[in-house]
């Protein structure tokens, strides 16, 4: 395909249009991804999550600049939530990254979560693959750690970083949210604020209690991203984690799990769509629902029967 050829020849416009095709599920999206697939698997994927206002975008901006100093090209996928009321979204991550716009070694794409059923992680994965095929060395996926699908995205990265800040009320709040468990490394941003030491201790205590983290002890870095302080140490930690993953053989495992997740999600998606189209959106199904409501029938055998018919 012409767009794929142009993308592989580093056309930024082709990359951008290809991401749009995937995001909007245009007719040519599957063909693009099919042709792209053999060219993927080379980039290192970094997932960044944390609560709103933690400074993820500012930190991403700083990390991108530091990677550039170290000779790496960087793709960034910045995800912000879609309003459940209007379907619109304000994608504001780019505001922290505008001075990256003059660097051809960087490509930033803002994505809205939209309402799709688990489709977000698939579309993000496709955007990552397109940047990978384009030739980006490092791809950063940045998202607010609130929903399951956002956490899924970060979980499937090679290295996952959780960004926290001191002074968000009760420090136990962050632990409660559950996002701390997915961090391969932690960054306490805005570390000039009061409560940094306390937060550091809290995270360390939590890590002590996690028996799975034996071979790799997640490091805790401190940054003041708005002033560019502490960024180099974060990259050093990412590199250390990468080396650990390679030497222990974990990288291959993580990537196999990622592929498995992706294919499973694609299968689920296909089956869901098939059921929506051929079962849920039929007049017979409305009739079934009516019978269920009047208790003429019960749902368990209905499901058995439908599944028996659909998945022959």
């Amino acid at each position: 395909m012409e767009i794929v050829e142009r993308l592989l020849n580093h056309s930024r416009l082709a990359l951008s249009k290809a991401i749009t095709a995937v995001e909007n599920e245009y007719d040519d999206a599957v063909k693009i991804m099919t042709e792209i697939y053999p060219h993927t698997g080379n980039a290192y994927v970094l997932g960044i999550t944390g609560p709103p206002g933690a400074g993820k975008s500012t930190l991403t901006d700083g990390l991108a600049k530091e990677y550039r100093k170290r000779g790496k090209t960087v793709g960034i996928v910045a995800i912000d939530p879609t309003s459940p009321y209007s379907g619109g979204a304000i994608l504001g991550d780019r505001i922290r990254m505008m001075d990256l716009m003059s660097d051809e070694g960087i490509f930033v794409r803002s994505m809205a979560t939209r309402g799709s059923l688990g489709g977000l992680s698939q579309k993000t994965g496709d955007a990552v693959k397109l940047m990978d095929a384009f030739g980006m060395d490092v791809i950063i996926v940045e998202t607010v750690g609130v929903g399951q699908s956002e956490v899924d995205i970060v979980k499937t990265a090679d290295t996952s970083m959780v960004v926290v800040i001191p002074g968000m009320g009760d420090d136990i709040q962050a632990i409660k949210a559950g996002i701390l468990e997915i961090g391969d490394l932690f960054t306490i941003n805005k570390a000039d604020r009061e409560g940094t030491d306390k937060l550091n201790i809290e995270i360390e205590m939590m890590l002590e209690l996690n028996p799975e983290r034996v071979a790799w002890r997640p490091p805790i870095n401190r940054t003041i991203a708005s002033k560019g302080i502490g960024i180099e140490a974060v990259i050093d930690s990412i590199e250390a984690h990468k080396n650990y993953l390679i030497e222990s053989g974990r990288l291959a495992e993580i990537r196999r799990a990622r592929i498995k997740n992706e294919v499973t999600a694609m299968l689920n998606d296909r089956v869901n769509r098939y059921i929506d189209k051929n079962v849920v959106e039929t007049p017979e199904f409305e009739e079934t629902v009516r019978k269920l409501q009047t208790r003429e029938i019960e749902p368990y055998s209905v499901v058995d029967k439908i599944v028996g018919n659909v998945l022959k």
Binding site: S86, G88, I90, L91, R94, M98, M101, R114
Partner: protein
């Protein structure tokens, strides 16, 4: 499932972003995906962001008086980058006498103070090639 994507940007040395933020919010509420890029941007930064985010619309806000230079420059750079089908609109304190010149330079519409945000939404819905 295609959403209209709008880049809201303030070119030049002008920190007055209240209007741009009000418009950004109104566009979000109308169901658009709004990429808000902030203040004091060069036309090059705006055009590159428009390319990377593959937006349908670039909405420029400017209150410093430099619109006659900066708005057409954005249009020019978008074309240079191959973004030929992007709708460019402008807003701010723009004298009526300048509007025909801006339109001739490729700014499709100019919204001055007092414009209801619904007019902007309507204009975008009617003029974006879906």
């Amino acid at each position: 499932m295609a959403n209209i994507r709008v880049l809201v940007a303030k070119p030049g040395l002008d920190g007055h972003d209240r209007g741009a933020k009000v418009v950004a919010r109104a566009l979000r509420d109308a169901g658009f995906e709004v990429i808000y890029t902030g203040i004091r941007l060069t036309p090059e930064q705006i055009a590159e962001a428009a390319l990377q985010d593959d937006v349908n619309v670039v909405a420029l806000s400017l209150l410093s008086g430099a619109h006659n230079t900066l708005f057409p420059k954005v249009v020019e750079l978008l074309k240079e980058k191959g973004l030929t089908d992007v709708l460019v609109i402008g807003g701010g304190v723009i004298p009526a006498a300048d509007i025909p010149g801006l339109k001739a330079a490729g700014i499709k519409e100019v919204f001055t103070p007092g414009t209801p945000t619904s007019d902007i939404v309507k204009f975008i819905n009617e003029n974006v090639k879906a």
